[in-house]
C-alpha cells in the first residue's frame, strides 16, 4: 500500500510539474483567450476525474479495517493492549501465522497511537489508544518474525521511546 501511494504521488507531482512547465513555456505567446476551448477542457477534466473517482472510491471503501468479523471463520486471539506514558502492556505477546489477532486497544492516561511494525519496520496496521475507549483492531499475520509496536500519537517527552515487541511464530 505504501509503495502504491508513493509511486502514484510521485507520478501525480511530476505530471503537474510538466503541465506547469508547458503552460509556462506557452505563456510568452500572446493570443486571445479561447473561452470555449477552456470550458470544454475543464468540463472534460471534471468528467474524467469523477469517472475515475467513483469506482476507486467503492473499491477502497469495500474492506475497511474497523473490526470486521473474521470472514474465514478461524480462531481469534484476543489481546488486551493498554498504552500509558510511556509503555505498552499486552496480555499476550506470541501468536501464530494465519490466526486472527484481535487487539483491544485503550489508554490509561493520554492519547497514544498503537502502530504495528513488521521486521523491516514497515507499518502493517494501527489504531488509536484513547482513554475511556476501546478500539478493536483485527489483523491476520501472514509472516513470522518479530513485530514492534511504536506509539503513533504524540504523548509527551518520551513518546519516541514508547515501544513493545511481540512474536509471530510459524
Amino acid at each position: 500500500m505504501q509503495d502504491i501511494a508513493w509511486k502514484v504521488s510521485i507520478f501525480q507531482i511530476l505530471f503537474m510539474v510538466i503541465v506547469f512547465i508547458v503552460i509556462y513555456a506557452k505563456s510568452h505567446i500572446v493570443a486571445p483567450v479561447d473561452g470555449l476551448a477552456q470550458e470544454k477542457t475543464r468540463r472534460s477534466l471534471f468528467i474524467v476525474l469523477i469517472a475515475m473517482g467513483i469506482p476507486l472510491a467503492f473499491h477502497t471503501l469495500a474492506d475497511l479495517p474497523y473490526a470486521v468479523p473474521d470472514r474465514t471463520g478461524g480462531p481469534v486471539q484476543v489481546v488486551e493492549a493498554v498504552g500509558r506514558q510511556w509503555e505498552w502492556t499486552l496480555s499476550r505477546n506470541t501468536f501464530r501465522v494465519g490466526e486472527t489477532v484481535e487487539f483491544r486497544v485503550t489508554s490509561a492516561d493520554v492519547n497514544h497511537g498503537f502502530g504495528i511494525y513488521d521486521g523491516s519496520m514497515r507499518v502493517v496496521a494501527q489504531t488509536q489508544a484513547m482513554p475511556d475507549y476501546v478500539n478493536t483492531l483485527r489483523h491476520k499475520f501472514q509472516t513470522p518474525g518479530k513485530y514492534t509496536i511504536l506509539c503513533l500519537e504524540y504523548c509527551g517527552l518520551a513518546h519516541h521511546a514508547m515501544s513493545a515487541e511481540f512474536e509471530v511464530r510459524p
Binding site: 501525480q12 483567450v33 472510491a57 479495517p65 502493517v124 489504531t127 519516541h160
Partner: protein, 485 residues
Amino acid sequence: MKAVSDTARLPLDSSARRGVLAYLVATIAIFVLMMIFGLLMRAAQAQAFGLDTGLFYQIMTVHGIGTVGAAGLGGAMICWYFLRHYVVLSTAVLVLNLGLFVTGVVLILGGAFLGEFAGGWNFLYPLPAMSQGAWSNGAAAAFLLGLLLIGSGFLVFYLDMARAILGKYGSFSRALGWPQLFGTSDAPPPPAAVVAATVIFTMNIPGILVGATILVLNLVSLYAPEYRIDALMAKNMTYFFGHVFMNGTIYQCLIAVFEIMPRHTGRPWKINKWFLGGWTASGLMVILVYPQHLLMDFVMPEWMLIVGQVVSWVHGLPVLLISVFGTLANVHRSGIRWNMTSGLLFFAMLGWAAGVFPGVADATIIVNQVMHNTQWVPGHFHTYFLLSLVSMLFGFGYHLMMDMHGDKASLIDRVGFWLFTLGGFGFILAFLAGGAAGVPRRYAVHLAEWLVYDRAGTIFAAMSVTAALVFMVRFLRNLNKGVSS
C-alpha cells in the same frame, strides 16, 4: 455567464497601510523563525548535533503553533488588504487582532521555553494536564491562554469582515454570488475577494468558537482534574477547529492569486459559475471533512469516517478545476509579465496542485491505516503550506514591497527563488519518502535506518531557510518605503 468582478476600489488610508505593513513584518519574521526551528528539528533527527529531547518537543510545539498562527496572520493580511478595496473594514479591528496576537505569542513562548510546555500545537486532551512532571499547569495554562487570546482576536476580525460584507451585499447568498450561480440575476457577481472572504468567515467563525470552547475546557481540567472531558469529543472539537482554521488560511492567501495574477497577465480573473459553485462547495466540504483526521479512531461512527474519505476526495476537484485550472488558463498564452511576484504565485499553485494526491492518499482509510502519523502527514501538509501558502505570502510580499515601488528583481532574488522552489520540493519529498518507509512523525530520536530521509530533509530545509532569509531581507530593506495605496 462570463461577467468579471467590478474594479471599483476604495483607497487605503495611511493607518490601514501601516497596519498591513505591520502584519507583513510579523508574518514573515515568524515564518522565517519557524522555518529555522523546522531546520533545527530535521538536523537533530539527522543527528547533525545533539538536542535535548525535551527542548526538541518544546520547539516542535512552538513550530506547530507558530506556523499555524503566522499562516492565520498572513492570510488575514492578504484577505483584509484586498477585501478593503471593496468593503469598509475596521482598521481598529485589524490592529486589535495584531495586538492580541502578539500578546498571545508572548504567553505561548513563555509557556514553552520558560515553562517547558511541550504538549504539541494541537494540545490533545488530556495531554496538557498529564506531562509526568515535564511541565507545570501554569506553563500549560500560559500556552492555552495565549492560544485563546489569538483565537479571540481572529474571531473579532472575522466578525468585522462579516459585518462589512453583509452590510454591503445584504445577505450571504448575494455575497456568495448565488443569484448569478443559479441564474436568477444578470447583475455582475461579487468580486473574487468578496466571495472567498464570505466563505472564509462562514467557516472560521464556528471553527474558532469550537476551538475556543475546547481550549477553555482544557484550561478548566488543568485546575479541576476531577472535571473530565470525553476524550473522543475533545479530539473531534480540536480537529474541527484545526482543520477549518488551516484551510481558511490558504483560502485567504489564494485571494492574492486572484487579485495579483491578472495584473501580470492582463486578463481578468473569471468569476463564472465554476468559480461561484466551487467556492460554496469548498466551504461546505471544509466543514464536513474534518473526520479525515480521525480515521484511526475506530470508535467513531463508521459513516462519519466514510464521509471523511469521500469528501476529502471530492475536495480535490475545486482545488484542481477552479484554482489551479483558473491560474493555468489565466497564464496560458497571455504574454504574462514574469517577475518574482508572478513566479512565486505561479509556483504556489503548482505546490497546491502537487499536494492533491498525497493528501487524497492520506485521507483514504486503507492507506491511512499504514500511513497515519508517519512522516507522510507532514509531507502532505508541507506541500500545501510550504510550497503553496508560504509561496503566496512571499509573492504578496514582493508585490507589496518591491513591485509597487517599481523595484526590479536582482540576481539574489532569482537565486532565492530557485533555492526556495527546489529546496521546498526536496524537503517535502524527503518527508513523503520517510512516511512511505514508516518513519513516525513527531519523534525526537530516529533509528539509524531513518537517517537517510532526515539528512536529505535537512539539506533541502537549509536551502528553503536560506531563500526565506533572502526574501525577508529584501522586504525589510524596503520597509521605509511603506505600502503604496
